[in-house]
């Protein structure tokens, strides 16, 4: 049969060649697009809606001439250290990323990250450096500013007012009144000090660190050397042991996950405990007014304090253009107020311009956290002022996990516990 179609001049080889060229073009296009944009990794810092909002802030970035745009990518917390170290080992880290508090320090030490000194100078020049006092200092190292802070996961003491009233307890102001209130709460079957000490949870570690700092102690000496076995820490552990003996700390807490603790807060079993300032947002709407942040407790030495984690936004040396990375970080930090305006972050803001927003100032719990708790907060590097790479292993490692579980289990030889901790930490450092 004779074809009625007009034969074109494109033969089989021509067709295949054209298809190959088209395929090559389409496959090259995304690569080109990728190379011409900054990769921005963002951990999931808030509830549903956080990712979309953070991505919106990224997408709203209009780079100046000669600067690169940014592509947002959300990164889950599971195996976060593995994610970043694998990327660093293979040279595939993004241009910019948010991350865990102590992540920048080993990376800066290894030359994987770019220091933020130049960026801070640009922010100074643009009038955007309004970081709250003390926070930026936590990022300073011998190699420069490791990263810029973008939020502050501080741990403050929450109480459930109705439970204290039911127990006939006063709001505690110091360790002794805390013990008194805790005993009264234990008498009505409530938990006076929330802990989640499962091996996969860090809440109990935060709480124990907070009390150690509260008493002027910590894991380190001012020069950064390990100093677990000191009088202040021993006093703290003795106090916590008293909490265990008086059933203010729940023995079940040894296996509690964060979810278990949250559930106990919700169902009215827990009356007091350290949590982040946005904890009330996780509670049922009808109960939220029942939760209140109290003022920092005074230790028996009359000192106050807590632990905080200054969450960084970091710039990696794998960026296609460092100036573009810096320009994007300036844009991002200048626009993250939306995250707090929409109630999508439990952590505190680190910039004065955000802290002064009506949505923050109208929340008495957050105001108290900023005004009373943040000034007395320290990192787990305390009593050292400088942070360093080994803090990752201190924060997430097995040494501190076993340490807090032993406290919950009621081990009473505080000096021995601290000595064992110091040996275990020395090994991982």
């Amino acid at each position: 049969m004779k074809s009625t179609m007009t034969r074109t001049s494109i033969g089989r080889r021509g067709f295949l060649g054209g298809a190959a060229a088209l395929g090559a073009m389409t496959s090259i296009r995304p690569v080109m697009a990728q190379d011409s944009a900054l990769k921005f990794w963002d951990m999931i810092w808030g509830p549903s809606g956080y990712i979309e909002t953070a991505e919106g802030i990224t997408d709203s970035y209009q780079p100046a001439a000669g600067m690169l745009p940014a592509d947002y990518q959300s990164v889950p917390w599971n195996n976060w250290y593995q994610t970043f170290t694998s990327a660093a080992a293979s040279g595939t880290t993004p241009a910019v990323s948010t991350g865990a508090a102590y992540l920048p320090f080993p990376f800066l030490e290894q030359g994987v990250m770019a220091p933020a000194d130049d960026l801070l100078a640009k922010m100074d020049a643009a009038g955007q450096n309004d970081f709250l006092p003390g926070l930026l200092d936590k990022m300073r190292t011998a190699n420069g500013i490791a990263a810029l802070p973008w939020s502050n996961s501080i741990f403050v003491m929450w109480m459930r007012k109705s439970l204290l009233e039911e127990a006939g307890a006063d709001v505690p102001t110091d360790w002794q009144s805390f013990l008194t209130a805790g005993e009264k709460l234990a008498a009505i079957g409530r938990v006076g000090l929330a802990l989640a000490a499962s091996s996969t949870t860090t809440l109990a570690k935060h709480t124990i660190s907070a009390f150690m700092i509260n008493n002027g102690g910590g894991y380190f000496a001012p020069d950064g050397s390990l100093d677990c076995v000191n009088d202040r820490n021993i006093e703290t552990l003795d106090f916590l042991n008293e909490c265990v003996r008086k059933k203010i700390i729940d023995p079940y807490a040894a296996s509690y996950t964060s979810d278990n603790a949250t559930q106990d807060w919700k169902n009215g079993r827990i009356a007091m405990g350290f949590e982040q300032p946005g904890m009330d947002k996780e509670m049922p709407v009808e109960d939220r007014d029942d939760f209140e942040v109290i003022s920092p407790l005074k230790s028996d030495r009359g000192e106050t304090g807590t632990v905080y984690y200054v969450n960084p936004i970091m710039m990696f040396t794998t960026t296609p253009d460092q100036a573009s990375s810096e320009a994007f970080v300036m844009h991002y930090l200048d626009n993250i107020s939306k995250l707090w305006e929409m109630g999508l972050v439990n952590a505190l803001p680190v910039k004065r311009s955000i802290a002064e927003l009506p949505v923050i100032q109208e929340n008495p719990n957050v105001v108290r956290a900023i005004n009373e708790w943040q000034p007395v907060g320290k990192t787990i590097a305390a009593q050292s002022e400088k942070s360093f790479g080994a803090l990752n292993a201190v924060d997430g490692g097995t040494a501190t996990a076993d340490f807090v579980q032993q406290i919950v289990a009621g081990k009473s030889d505080s000096r021995q516990l601290l000595s064992d901790l110091q040996d275990a930490l020395a090994r991982v450092m």
């Binding site: 170290t85 000490a197 499962s198 996969t200 023995p251 079940y252 296996s255 040494a399 579980q405």
Partner: protein
């Protein structure tokens, strides 16, 4: 027929001046065909193993290999009391996993031999622990056990046994994790042993019954020997599944409390990814691998022995 320079006839093949028998030629051809796959497997498995072997001899971090310490990490592992505690619990967990799941699975498989109403549905229900994702199972068990207001602690208290901390007490946590392992694993044994039981000739069993052989004697002298080969294979597999079982433990207890439920594989993970000591952690993994290879050789010999019998 010719194949390149080789001549093939019914007697054999000639490669150049070398004459090969038909069997040799066939083997050579098969080896040639298998070679790409073997090379691929070596590349995929060999490289990471070699990489890890080197890594276990350094004392650095995940970012920096650090200094070469030879077998220093291995020596340190053997001196570490935590390692021996992990060995102890690994043995307990594996024994419980293998024997417990086999006993339950085999027992249920025996029950399922005789028809009863709803047997098909019952069989599907019995497989549920295996089918449900481990993340869901561990969350369910956590919900059942973790807090004083959880279902099981409440039930135990209601019958007068006091407050039992299934996950917070080290000894109870060890028992709970082992029971969880049996619960997760028995459907596998049910499937394997069910198949082995189906393969036994019914006439033999009926003849034994007619001859007055009791159920227990039939089990001991007929069913167990007849299913011994399958049993050993199932045990070998379950030994591997148990020793290498990370999620069952990690999702339920994370290896705690007080490291009481830390097996070697959990210890290796925590050492590498929580303490950031990859050399030390990988050394633990290699020790586990060597132990497993030795154990599998022993069990394979047992299989051969049971086959001969």
């Amino acid at each position: 027929m010719t194949l390149g320079t080789a001549k093939i006839d019914k007697k054999g093949t000639r490669f150049g001046n070398t004459a090969l028998s038909a069997t040799q030629a066939r083997r050579l051809t098969l080896a040639g065909l298998a070679l790409p796959s073997i090379l691929l497997m070596v590349a995929i498995n060999g490289y990471p193993i070699l990489f890890a072997a080197f890594q276990s001899m350094y004392d650095g971090s995940l970012l920096n290999w650090g200094e070469f310490v030879g077998f220093g990490n291995y020596a340190e592992v053997f001196r570490d009391p935590a390692f021996w505690r992990a060995v102890r619990f690994t043995v307990i967990f594996t024994m419980a996993g293998v024997l417990g799941s086999w006993a339950v699975g085999f027992g249920l498989a025996l029950l399922m031999l005789k028809p009863f109403p709803g047997r098909a549905l019952f069989r599907v229900l019995l497989l549920l622990p295996w089918i449900v994702p481990i993340v869901v199972s561990s969350m369910s068990w956590n919900w059942l056990l973790a807090t004083p207001y959880s279902l099981l602690p409440q039930a135990v208290e209601a019958i007068g046994l006091g407050r039992v901390m299934f996950l917070a007490d080290p000894t109870m946590a060890m028992i709970t994790v082992c029971v969880f392992k049996v619960w997760i694993s028995y459907p596998f044994m049910l499937m394997i042993m069910g198949g082995a039981l189906q393969a036994i000739d019914k006439n033999v069993m009926e003849a034994a019954e007619v001859d007055g052989c009791s159920g227990l004697r039939r089990l001991r002298h007929m069913i167990l020997p007849m299913t011994a080969r399958t049993t050993y294979i199932a045990w070998i597999l379950m030994v591997f599944f148990s020793v290498n079982d990370f999620p069952t433990i990690y999702l339920l207890t994370g290896g705690g409390p007080l490291s009481s439920t830390t097996t070697l594989i959990v210890m290796a993970y925590r050492t590498v990814f929580q303490d950031f000591l990859p050399g030390y952690g990988v050394a633990i993994s290699f020790i586990v691998t060597i132990a497993l290879v030795a154990l599998s050789i022993f069990l394979l010999r047992q299989i051969r022995k049971s086959s001969l019998q």
